[in-house]
């Protein structure tokens, strides 16, 4: 890495920002290099993607506007099949992304080495891919550039999608308006992009997933031609041929994914119900933040914590500085006699997912569009403090659910006892 000048701190002369010890080069693209690195404090492996600002701004002047948005999107994504972004760093000339390190490397190296996968293994990876894609779509995030080098396999054999939300940073949209992949082939690009019509991110991602599935099960690209124009033509017409060893069911399924008409192309919601997709027993995909639903039942309120004056004071909104980081969190606490049964009953009525914790609950709306944490602590014989906190998801949905429904419910059930909102 001759041109990577290392920013160093006095404490560790060889570490990036005194924090990450850079290791070997993992990958190299037009604008970015990816290195293995070790977090000196935790010993944890990370991948550091290094972008050259000048090059990036020359090819993508819109970067300045996009970068904030893209990073905020990445930050919100937390899913077992999506590579996590830990932090961003920068110098005058470079931008660094510290990301989760995925040990096994690119999925497609596996195929180029060992050939096509069995239909069952293809299905397993495809299910994980759809789990990640559906999770992002439920949050209004589209990859738009799903391609082989973005699909990694970890040491447990799980698939991880990288660069979700970062598409504009690594954007391969060239002045000719075409999406080019780093390896110089548009093989994964949906026909409606080629025809320069407006396109929908969700539909485009489904098409790319279809191409990925085809490659996994067939071992070669559905649309390929040494002549770029011929390849465009094939994509545009949806001309591909399935190998004879492919099951009829898979052929049918792929034809639904590689439907050139985005209007009739299968959707993620339909994919997860498709007979080929669910074959062999598949636990329902969760498109929301990971929540353990174990131990949901049981209405008894075990161990409500008792509070002293300092606990009480610590509920002051004046001491909660998370408000300075506007939009990061919202929470509300109120004093009430309300207890657990009402919370659980409410969740049932509203069809929310609930996880019981030691002193409270965690609730989640469908599709993970919001998450509420409810904590209940007892102050004295009469009063309990109920604290609600937005843990993630859409702020609007949270406010709607909390202010207009749950709060009303909790405060109305006990009109004989004093209620107070903090």
């Amino acid at each position: 890495m001759p041109e990577i000048q290392i920013v160093s701190d006095n404490s560790n002369t060889n570490a990036l920002f005194g924090k990450y010890e850079l290791g070997k080069l993992l990958g190299c693209g037009a604008f970015a290099k990816v290195f293995h690195a070790r977090d000196l404090r935790t010993g944890q492996s990370v991948a550091i993607k290094i972008l050259n600002k000048k090059k990036l701004l020359l090819t993508n002047p819109a970067l300045a506007n996009n970068i904030k948005r893209e990073i905020s999107i990445m930050r919100r994504l937390s899913h077992p099949n999506i590579v996590r972004l830990h932090e961003v760093m920068a110098t005058k000339t470079k931008i660094f992304f510290a990301m989760e390190f995925v040990k096994g490397g690119e999925l497609f190296n596996k195929i180029s080495k060992h050939g096509r996968l069995s239909e069952d293994l293809s299905r397993r990876y495809f299910q994980q891919l759809i789990s990640a894609v559906g999770y992002c779509h439920a949050r209004g995030v589209y990859h738009r550039d799903l391609k082989p080098e973005n699909l990694l396999i970890d040491e447990n054999g799980s698939l991880k999608v990288s660069d979700f939300g970062l598409s504009a940073l690594t954007d391969q949209i060239r002045p000719d308006g075409f999406l080019h992949t780093l390896c110089g082939t548009p093989a994964y690009v949906a026909p409606e992009i080629l025809s320069k019509k407006g396109y929908e991110g969700a539909k485009v991602d489904v098409w790319s997933c279809g191409v990925v599935l085809f490659v996994l099960a067939a071992g070669y690209l559905p649309f390929n031609d040494p002549n770029m124009m011929s390849m465009y033509k094939k994509i545009y017409k949806g001309e591909y041929r399935c190998p004879k060893w492919m099951s009829q069911d898979l052929k049918r399924f792929i034809s639904r994914l590689l439907d050139i008409n985005p209007e009739t192309r299968i959707t993620v919601d339909e994919i997860v119900k498709d007979p080929w997709f669910v074959k062999g027993g598949f636990k329902p995909i969760k498109f929301h933040d990971e929540i353990d639903l174990k131990g949901g039942g049981g209405g008894e309120v075990e161990g409500v914590k008792s509070l002293n004056a300092f606990d009480l004071i610590s509920f002051s909104s004046g001491l909660d500085l998370s408000g300075l980081f506007a939009g990061c969190s919202e929470s509300e606490r109120f004093l009430s006699e309300k207890l657990a049964e009402e919370v659980e009953e409410f969740a049932k009525e509203e069809n929310l997912k609930v996880k019981k914790e030691e002193y409270g609950f965690e609730m989640e709306g469908q599709n993970g569009n919001f998450m509420i944490e409810i904590y209940i602590s007892r102050l004295n014989d009469l009063l309990a403090v109920v604290e609600a906190r937005r843990r993630g998801g859409d702020a609007g949905c949270y406010k709607e659910m909390w202010n207009n429904r749950l709060r009303v419910k909790l405060t109305s059930v006990c009109d004989q006892t004093p209620i107070a909102t903090i």
Binding site: Q5, V7, F17, G18, K19, K53, L63, A64, I67, K68, I71, S72, M74, R75, L85, E87, V88, M89, A90, T91, K92, T93, K94, I95, N308, A309, F310, D311, L312, I313, S314, F315, S316, S317, G318, L319, D320, L321, S322, G323, L324, F325, A326, C328, S329, F334, L335, L379, N380, L383, P418, I419, A420, T421, I422
Partner: protein, 214 residues
């Protein structure tokens, strides 16, 4: 041409009163230089919301916390007072970073505990006295629409004094405070802001104009 641009940008980086070099702040806090650049982004937003002078005034602080610049809140007043280390009525960038660093998840608990003790020591006597505790409980209750009787407030305070004031001198000293914190660490929950580990992701625009040398 390039030289011209450079000079221009040098001029542009002239910083307002109270600005401190991120390198210096990074060496004194758990933050990296980039994290301080990210915090500067937040600081710029907070310090220009009402008066565009690069200093956080009380009204701006209250506006950020409560979306209301004339909010009356004893605890917010105390936090502002603690952040305003020079006691000149405004929070400068260096004060902002150094104070926030106490809320960093990696900052040792005893620093958090000591900050909180001083914050609750309203009169600055080195003790949390009974009347201070009572005043704070009252202030908290006035944030609510809950009209608790004088007696119930008194009962809550009394119960806590019995629990915490182990040498029975009618006030809580720092030793007694430390014992309470050891027994009940959740009292310090407000002193840790997990977001501080994510500031580079929350305020990422620094990546474009970072002044860190390669």
């Amino acid at each position: 041409m390039l030289a011209f641009v450079k000079r221009f940008s040098l001029k542009r980086t002239k910083h307002p009163r109270g600005y401190e070099d991120p390198q210096v702040l990074a060496s004194e806090t758990p933050f990296t230089v980039n994290e301080i650049e990210a915090l500067h982004n937040l600081f710029k937003k907070l310090s220009t919301s009402i008066i565009n002078d690069g200093l956080i005034h009380k009204e701006e602080f209250l506006l950020a916390l409560f979306r209301n610049s004339s909010m009356q809140n004893l605890f917010a007043d105390r936090v502002f007072y603690m952040f305003d280390r020079k006691r000149n009525g405004v929070i400068e960038f260096g004060e902002f970073v150094r104070s926030l660093s106490i809320f960093h998840p990696h900052t040792p608990e005893h620093e958090k505990s000591s900050f909180m003790f001083k914050l609750y020591d309203l009169d600055g006597t080195g003790f949390i006295q009974r009347h201070e505790l009572k005043k704070m409980v009252g202030a908290l209750l006035s944030e609510t629409d809950l009209g608790l009787s004088e007696e119930s407030i008194e009962a809550i305070v009394e119960q806590t004094m019995i629990e915490v004031d182990t040498n029975k001198d009618g006030k809580i000293d720092e030793e007694e405070w430390k014992e309470l914190v050891a027994k009940n660490p959740s009292i310090l929950k407000n002193m840790t802001l997990p977001y501080l580990k994510e500031v580079t992701l929350a305020f990422p625009s620094f990546v474009l104009d970072s002044e860190v040398d390669d």
